[in-house]
């Protein structure tokens, strides 16, 4: 035994071994910490990248302009601008030509293209708000085109940089909050784009998803947990729900394309079809969350209700469901948040068209925010980079709010029995 060092406590090798084991312990612990720290660091890096690239998208550059509409070839009767179709009249007038003329007059011939869609739109709005602009000289601040905007923010092509320098020399540029980004829809000029159309599409889609997936999910969770007999059929239902929860989302897109579009002939690109597809995808998530919540309601509640003469159905709908509802809602909100961020299945059913007007109803062509982000990320124009990142910030804010709501609900209402 004397040749076994571990048997003698006084021997230094024992101490050494213990020290080695303890340092292995510390290393292991540090590795664990490192793993978590890396995940958090990546998340922080991702959020930082999006914020630093995207915050610029919420502001735009405006240029000062001496506008002399009476001398331009814009002919609008001021009386028409008070009517309901003022927007149309303004859109038909050649405001773009007037802007180009004014820009050249103010900043010289190189500045002929500093204004784009956004400037024309803003000028139209100013005209409707103040028709006297038609009959006088005025100094206006108007948003510049996407290319110039990027150059003013320090990332543009050399020619635009030169124009920006020229305008800056006359103190003609300023940065303001870009409200249009939240109220406008998709456009060809990046300075004129906004997320409102996509947000409205997302909203309509989620409404359809929620309206279908929530009742169906809750009812089937109740059935499986409270009524279903243990037999082959129930097993089949369970297996298919568990499997559906793990089927790739793009497969649901293929299902939507084959069934809703090609067999049932529902309108393409519509929130109705998107909502239906996402509902099929979200329903299993709600069922699984619902079953867990129902399972956690203690049997004593059911026994008590049955004991005073309630029917099985009354027990379930008067007692079990209200007690399980916070848990079900938490699962539902998380499922909805996932549906809100889903892109691939919606690409399959054609929600990737260029849509410049917000949808009026669930059967109108629409796009949703994640698809809009995907479409903008594909654009070559560099000024779309900050618009894409800005749209991502909007999307992430919505996700955070929904997940925060779910966590709040879980902490506030969930009871441990």
């Amino acid at each position: 035994m004397s040749n076994n060092p571990a048997s003698r406590w006084t021997d230094g090798s024992m101490q050494k071994r213990v020290a080695r084991r303890y340092s292995a312990e510390r290393r292991f612990r540090a590795l664990g910490f490192l793993a978590v720290a890396m995940s958090v660091a990546v998340l922080a890096f991702l959020l930082f990248t999006m914020a630093s690239k995207g915050l610029g998208g919420f502001s735009h550059t405006e240029a000062r302009l001496q506008l002399d509409l009476p001398r331009s070839d814009v002919v609008i009767d001021p009386a028409n601008l008070t009517g309901a179709d003022a927007g149309q009249i303004v859109a038909q007038a050649n405001l773009e030509g007037a802007l180009t003329q004014a820009a050249i007059a103010t900043y010289g011939p190189t500045a002929s293209e500093i204004f784009g869609e956004s400037g024309v739109r803003e000028l139209g709005r100013k005209l409707i708000a103040d028709p006297t602009l038609l009959s006088r000289r005025a100094e206006l601040w108007l948003p510049v085109s996407g290319k110039v905007d990027v150059a003013a923010k320090g990332d543009g092509a050399p020619e635009q940089e030169a124009i920006v320098a020229a305008i800056n020399a006359k103190d003609g540029l300023r940065r303001t909050f870009n409200l249009d980004f939240l109220t406008a829809s998709d456009a060809t000029d990046p300075s004129a784009v906004g997320v409102w159309g996509a947000l409205k599409g997302s909203f309509l889609t989620i409404i359809v998803t929620m309206g279908l997936a929530f009742p169906v999910g809750v009812l089937s969770a109740l059935y499986l947990e409270e009524f279903a007999a243990r037999n082959r059929w129930t097993d089949l239902v369970e297996v298919s729900i568990n499997n559906l929860a793990a089927v790739p989302s793009i497969i649901f897109g293929l299902l939507g394309l084959a069934v809703f579009l090609n067999v049932m002939n529902l309108p393409r690109s519509a929130p109705l079809v998107g909502g239906l597809t996402l509902a099929l995808m979200t329903m299993p998530v709600i069922v699984i969350a619902g079953r867990n919540a129902i399972k956690s309601v203690p049997p004593s509640i059911r026994d008590a209700a049955l004991g005073v003469g309630a029917s099985k159905m009354q027990v379930v709908f008067h007692h079990v469901l209200p007690l399980a509802l916070p848990g079900i809602l938490t699962g539902t909100i998380i499922g909805m948040a996932r549906a809100l961020g889903e892109t691939a299945p919606l690409l399959m059913i054609g929600m990737r068209a260029f849509i410049a007007t917000p949808p009026g109803g669930i059967a109108d062509p629409a796009t949703v925010l994640p698809v809009q982000i995907f479409l903008w990320s594909d654009e070559v124009d560099r000024s779309f980079v900050e618009k894409t990142s800005a749209a991502i910030i909007v999307l992430l804010v919505f996700m955070l709010v929904m997940n925060g709501l779910a966590i709040y609900l879980r902490n506030r209402f969930e009871r441990r029995w």
Binding site: R29, L43, G217, A246, I250, L255, L280, I392
Partner: protein, 463 residues
């Protein structure tokens, strides 16, 4: 009369009948004679009557509306204006579509004059068949209401009747999952069979060359229309099952170990939601992050270590970001299986003098291994079905390279590519997407079933 109007009428009949039933039952209850006691509360009589009036009629309406579409189309085509339409399917369809839009007032005039002539036919046929269907539904509602009203009596068990309806509703809701699965399988299978009539299954399954561009002309170069899916599945496995897992398994597992075994409760309460945020970030955001930030970094790194052919779309960039996306998933699965290991095993090991890390490595992890493996399988299944990250960062070239700095393409990328171009629906190119979808579905199904059964057996072992 339109079907929407019929729907309203049915609901109105149901509400009225319910109201009448309530009044009758309430009257019975007040004026009850000795010995006779109303079995169910008036509200149940009302619900029972309303359900009998509404549900059969609504089902009838739902079944009628597709039938009506077909009947209308038939009757329009058999009218003299319909017979004058061109024979070409595409032209006829577009004229019919326009005529329909005019008939329902969506547009004022069609592009094709024939559609304007057809519009009245559409209106007439629509009216005719909607009146028939709506009338039938209304009759069904009235009949149901009359039947249920005749049963408002002392001894009638209206509550049991209502509960039978609710039970039917519950059962119907639970079959939606099966119908969805069936719908997925059938639609994929149906289109895949059509695809395999054009391309042989052996070529599809074992071919190593993928270029789905069909030649428009015979002499067109580079458009051979080859459908060998092996490179796609290699790319999918390379990104989803190899690179992503190399990132996600160690990080996810170590995170779970740290959070469950080492972190103080307060730290855990903060870190867990942060990991959940990582799981909640939409995939399109990860995709953009991969394409915009990670891919250039990977390319520069590749060039700096001497891989001159490093491209800006690389398997490594997509796989890295996908791995990060999967971390919270692996971590929570590992968390669950570690938590399921009985405390007694841990205590026994610690009591023998093992350090915490030795206990974890030698006792807890081997015991939790089946659960962890099941979780990893589910993670793989999720990674290979992931679409947006690879669409935005992995590229389109179907190559069988093992160089992580090269672009590869995956099954999901190709499905998106095949289905988002302008393609008529019957070409082999479009149908190939469904065949790929079918294979993807089968692979993920097998992975899920194995994983679920492993996890379940493991849970039972410790219960």
């Amino acid at each position: 009369m339109s079907l929407g109007l019929a729907l309203l009428a049915v609901l109105l009949v149901a509400a009225l009948a319910g109201g009448i039933a309530y009044r009758r039952a309430a009257a019975l209850r007040v004026g009850r004679t000795k010995g006779a006691r109303l079995n169910s509360l008036p509200i149940y009589h009302a619900l029972h009557t309303a359900l009998w009036a509404a549900l059969p009629a609504l089902l009838l309406l739902a079944a009628w509306s597709p039938v009506q579409t077909r009947l209308v189309a038939q009757s329009v085509l058999s009218s003299p204006e319909g017979k004058a339409l061109p024979d070409s399917d595409i032209q006829r369809e577009s004229i019919l579509g326009e005529a329909q839009d005019i008939a329902i007032g969506k547009i004022e005039a069609g592009f094709n004059p024939q559609s304007t002539a057809l519009a009245p036919q559409f209106t007439a046929a629509n009216n005719k068949f909607a009146t028939i269907g709506g009338g039938l539904a209304l009759l069904a509602a009235l009949a149901g209401a009359a039947f249920a009203l005749s049963r408002v009596k002392f001894e009638f068990r209206a509550r049991a009747g209502v509960e039978r309806w609710v039970m039917l509703l519950l059962m119907a809701a639970s079959t939606v999952a099966i119908l969805t699965t069936l719908g997925i399988v059938l639609s994929l299978l149906f289109e895949s069979i059509r695809f395999f009539k054009m391309v042989s299954p052996t070529e599809f399954l074992f071919g190593t060359s993928w270029s789905p561009q069909m030649a428009m002309r015979a002499d067109q170069a580079g458009s051979s229309g080859e459908f060998g899916s092996v490179p796609l599945f290699w790319g999918t496995a390379f990104i989803g099952a190899i690179i992503a897992m190399i990132v996600a398994i160690p990080l996810g597992l170590m995170s779970a170990i740290f959070l469950t075994q080492y972190a103080p409760a307060k730290v855990r309460a903060w870190l867990k939601p942060i990991l959940e945020i990582l799981a909640g970030v939409p995939t399109v955001v990860y995709g953009y992050f991969a394409a915009l930030t990670v891919a250039p970094m990977v390319r520069d790194f590749g060039i700096s270590i001497g891989v001159t052919s490093a491209s800006s779309e690389s398997a490594l960039a997509a796989g890295l970001v996908m791995g990060i996306m999967i971390i919270p998933f692996v971590s929570s699965m590992a968390d669950d299986s570690i938590a399921a290991v009985p405390q007694a095993m841990r205590d026994g090991s610690l009591a023998l003098g093992a350090t915490k890390s030795e206990t974890i490595r030698r006792v807890v992890l081997p015991a939790a291994l089946p659960g962890v493996v099941g979780g990893v399988l589910l993670a793989v299944s999720r990674a290979i079905g992931e679409t947006m990250i690879v669409v935005m960062a992995a590229g389109l070239s179907a190559s069988m390279t093992a160089n992580p700095f090269h672009a590869v393409t995956t099954v999901t990328v190709q499905i998106v590519q095949l289905l988002t171009g302008d393609q008529e629906f019957d070409s082999a190119k479009t149908l190939a997407a469904f065949a790929l979808g079918l294979l993807l579905f089968i692979i993920t199904l097998i992975l899920n079933l194995i994983a679920l059964s492993v996890v379940r057996r493991y849970r039972e072992a410790y219960e």
